[in-house]
Point group: none
Chain length 310, copies 5
Amino acid sequence: MANTMMPIDRVNEILSWYRGENPGVLTNLARMLYHGRLGGTGRMVILPVDQGFEHGPARSFAPNPAGYDPRYHFQLAIDAGLSAHAAPLGSLEVGAAEFAGRIPLILKLNNHDTLGDERDPLAAQTAGIMDALRLGCVAIGYTIYPGTAERRLQYEQLQALTREAKAHGLAVVVWAYPRGSGVSKEGETALDVIAYGAQIAAQLGAHIIKVKLPFDYLEQDAARKVYEQYRIPRATLAERVHHVVQSAFDGRRIVIFSGGAINNDENALLAEARAIRQGGGFGSIMGRNTFQRERGASLKLLGEIIDIFQ
Amino acid sequence: MANTMMPIDRVNEILSWYRGENPGVLTNLARMLYHGRLGGTGRMVILPVDQGFEHGPARSFAPNPAGYDPRYHFQLAIDAGLSAHAAPLGSLEVGAAEFAGRIPLILKLNNHDTLGDERDPLAAQTAGIMDALRLGCVAIGYTIYPGTAERRLQYEQLQALTREAKAHGLAVVVWAYPRGSGVSKEGETALDVIAYGAQIAAQLGAHIIKVKLPFDYLEQDAARKVYEQYRIPRATLAERVHHVVQSAFDGRRIVIFSGGAINNDENALLAEARAIRQGGGFGSIMGRNTFQRERGASLKLLGEIIDIFQ
Amino acid sequence: MANTMMPIDRVNEILSWYRGENPGVLTNLARMLYHGRLGGTGRMVILPVDQGFEHGPARSFAPNPAGYDPRYHFQLAIDAGLSAHAAPLGSLEVGAAEFAGRIPLILKLNNHDTLGDERDPLAAQTAGIMDALRLGCVAIGYTIYPGTAERRLQYEQLQALTREAKAHGLAVVVWAYPRGSGVSKEGETALDVIAYGAQIAAQLGAHIIKVKLPFDYLEQDAARKVYEQYRIPRATLAERVHHVVQSAFDGRRIVIFSGGAINNDENALLAEARAIRQGGGFGSIMGRNTFQRERGASLKLLGEIIDIFQ
Amino acid sequence: MANTMMPIDRVNEILSWYRGENPGVLTNLARMLYHGRLGGTGRMVILPVDQGFEHGPARSFAPNPAGYDPRYHFQLAIDAGLSAHAAPLGSLEVGAAEFAGRIPLILKLNNHDTLGDERDPLAAQTAGIMDALRLGCVAIGYTIYPGTAERRLQYEQLQALTREAKAHGLAVVVWAYPRGSGVSKEGETALDVIAYGAQIAAQLGAHIIKVKLPFDYLEQDAARKVYEQYRIPRATLAERVHHVVQSAFDGRRIVIFSGGAINNDENALLAEARAIRQGGGFGSIMGRNTFQRERGASLKLLGEIIDIFQ
Amino acid sequence: MANTMMPIDRVNEILSWYRGENPGVLTNLARMLYHGRLGGTGRMVILPVDQGFEHGPARSFAPNPAGYDPRYHFQLAIDAGLSAHAAPLGSLEVGAAEFAGRIPLILKLNNHDTLGDERDPLAAQTAGIMDALRLGCVAIGYTIYPGTAERRLQYEQLQALTREAKAHGLAVVVWAYPRGSGVSKEGETALDVIAYGAQIAAQLGAHIIKVKLPFDYLEQDAARKVYEQYRIPRATLAERVHHVVQSAFDGRRIVIFSGGAINNDENALLAEARAIRQGGGFGSIMGRNTFQRERGASLKLLGEIIDIFQ
């Protein structure tokens, strides 16, 4: 994709990958693709704030207590010129009216707490399609754990929600996070496993797929043979990003990457962003690395990342 | 409203009038209020193209045959920087995917043809809420004919559609066009009747009300006495606009005005726009006066009207 | 009913007449019976403002333009210490959130405009049960026109709405206004006809019945014979009120009386209130006589009427 | 459209006009566009046999009694290499299994008999979407009578069926036949009226529109002025066909033409086909002129017509 | 929050935190916030009596046998001037009609018995939304056990009930009681766990959140690091209350605290109430400590607690 392409042309090119969807879905994808500082570039940076539910409030917000108030994150996403803000039901109920029309919203439809030490986690559905509509969202979000024992229940819940979402014109964003007894701890970010998760999300009908950055590690024996036989490039992060994007319908699905726990080394984060761009990734979804920083530092970091993606 | 108000403040002020609605409805209202060249001013100009159904294709599009193609009107609304485009089902089906995310869409849910010379017209429902959602619309549109014999059927159809629309986060735009055996031909644009139509639309739950520009004529005897007794100002168009806006919950509903048949005198159209603004109206909805002109002339006229409303 | 009765006892006595209803309906009746300055007396004064729809905005609000804003009426009802406020959908949508919990609300589910001079009027359903619930109302309101040709449609629409309202715990207030080709103009307020209307409303399941004050006139020949044979007292207004209340299940339904068009003679209005009380009526429903007066005068008049009913 | 265009390119070009529809609808449109001797040309000839219901069996089938058996028409359409066969429920129930997969089927969902001589006809719905699915149809068919007094009921029935059909991936074919008290007998085939009917069908969401061949006659005064002012060419049949196609979204909807009553002059029929092609029409829908001829003559005539459209 | 704030202003301030909800929900929240001796202060004391189901009747009511009769608790809540009474279906069925309109009711929609010694308890849904409506309730109540193995089922049941409740204008009160194999016994009232439970309830859409008073204990290793690193104050009960309230959207959700098992030391209970107030808590929900005391003592205790909260 050339930087010299007109914004409308690039958005239209991306939307052409989703010709199976109705204009409502395309419109909501376009609302994200045209929004914020990256509007029209075909890339996006999303602010997800579900950590209060996923990790507990203090672990999430004590580093920057302003974040206890969900409105802080709406304002941060707006001021940083991001593409969208994703959060669970309660958070969106707090800010959706006050910030109506100012930032595209993604309602996280399932969430998982950490009050229990499960080997095979299973998130709970915490909101539904009618909630997404009454809150003015552009998309639903849903996390799958490829590798968890009961992933069948997740895939089935997701397929039912996806069908209903699309009939109502909503886009579908899937967090594909391999976890559970089917994968080792290292395997959760193994290149073959991340690529596999991206493929599963794409096959389940996701429009936007969020994965973790893959390491140069291969989890599955059967896969390793193939990677070695065909010498799939994986030495650099950009190469691994490229392979994951390729694994989601050869780049015809929007794949974005998350960084994970807070990283005090901003240069490392910027290097990751450059690798994502170089590898053909579509952007970043950054939670803790933004809202756990003080607001000024967070806006500065987001600004630099957006500069990279522009 | 002062021009010095910040755009967000003005939009938020308007949205505060709709506190009874869910954030989805507010978001879709905001999408129109933030869009186009008038974004943030609290005023709007909408391009409606339902005349192919209402008057027939040749009467509508022969003056500027490019308009036979529904995509022409999407492009016109986008290029002129308008707030929204309103059309029946078929037209939106043609362009909604191609122009996804580039202009807020209003799906006209009922339409009336002129193959029959009814004294008491009754439009047909030609699409539904799920159509609006699958086409990515921000609002439904519906025309009522206060004064027609069976208006009861219209009001009841509208209230059912309105309830369903709001539950799904869609805004509701009502065309209030007094017609039928209950009003004389002059009465259709009489001040008292236009104001009455605006009130009815507001009571039926409309968020945006479209009326014709009122003349200095009073239709109903019982009303005339009151207008004279209380000396309601009505000599100038601005005064009449003010009274109509007042009749829609004292200005707490967005009321926009339509011009009607093509007027070759552009100065007259600009004078109307100035009177609408002076009287506190929220903008214009212009169909034939735009798309029946050649594209260049149309863009020039719309540009001048928007200049007035800014 | 003795004034010395404890408020709870009197409300409980009234609620005992509705033993066939579920506790939700009783709760919502009680919310009106305990509210405002008449709370606990078993009497009520209600502010209805549907005249904007029924007669047009200027005829309704020009005498006191503050009333163009629906919020004015919420505040008036609150400040006067009334029992409830009744209005159509749009008006309640404007104020229900802002005044949440401060005045019991009745959603008028049908309304009729006067853009047409029908001999046999038929109001349109303009809202539904889910609207009443989402707006926090205690009751639905519905107008029937006994005497109109198609009253069957009205009674049937009312019965369906009543059944749904009661299942959801909402109370039902019926405006019984004889009109149409079945009654003469004088007959609309004839004693026999008003009493008949009250009976029909009661039989249709109304909890609260609103009628006009009856005149000493008998419309129907068959009825006149009986009134004369049994010498039903009807010379005074109090006697006629008593007969109407008797006609609604011997006083076991709450019957309230409306005054009609504005009456500049406040003493006449106070005399009517005294007659209502003397005849065993349960109170007044006053629209134009309150909101068309200047606010101070309106509050003074309402205060004096409430003094009578206490 | 050039004859040298590759079949896939031409079909894809046509399908691109329907980007608002889901792939199921596109697939069913493509099944017709790729079928038969005209497959890939973008043109089609359809055999409709609903005359048994519309005119009675003897009037329809006595000229060629083989047609009493619905299977005759399946075989005729197959042998002639047509694009599709359209018929009411019962006829399709007779042959759909026997001829499964050999000819695309269109289920006519409404039909009108002539047991009564109504000025304002209104067809009955005689089958539904689930019937079309269980019979393996590619599309539903529906006749509207623009100009009939109660056309509102027709448009509303059609819009409900259309929404359901599209959700189930079925294409929608609309017969737009102006009739009723709103048009004169000549007006039924007037150019302005036929064009108007095509526009209405398009706005109601039709994918394929069937109209009668228009005469050089203008019915509506308001339209005539426009046709004369803008000198819309209408002297030749090809010019009139062109205008009708233009009136259906500037040629972005498939418009096909029917011939009407049997015409013994085959040269006239061939001339009509040439004019349809010359004017940019998409083909013919021929009932009585085919099945009322003896089978050999019918196949010969259809062969010659297809030759013209290739 | 200043004590000098006008009651309406304080209630409106609290309601402004729920702008995402419809006026019906706001009205029912306001009904509690305006009710009883604490009406208008923004604080509330609620009487919950579900112990008969949860612990068995004798364990619950033998200390004060008057409590075997559900009506005793209605009367107690009324006489003490409380904000609301919460109970399971059967109890409310006993008293809802008799005490209609005199105390806001919360229908506990799920309950758990102790006929079994589960490590991972799971309450049963014992009533539904239509029960809440037919009983005249202002809210539904629901208990979640963060930490129980199958909490996913609870969260999903709650989200479905919450969506339906809100659509019908009912408020949602969530008891967030960490229990089960995911937490230790001490962990059930650990500060980090209680705060986490409050966050989960808020994210699930709760309007009012009931938690236990937290101890100065931290359960989760990952959390302990954060509490220590950021020196979150937790030495005093008031500090811990503050942190829990902060964890529920920075104080933008009503969080109330329960005392647990009977405490004969009234001074300790009053000290707890003072700490709740000092820490910014919104009040208490007291069951066994009130109804297990003799009525006079109970009223005295409640009176003193309310004095603290005023």
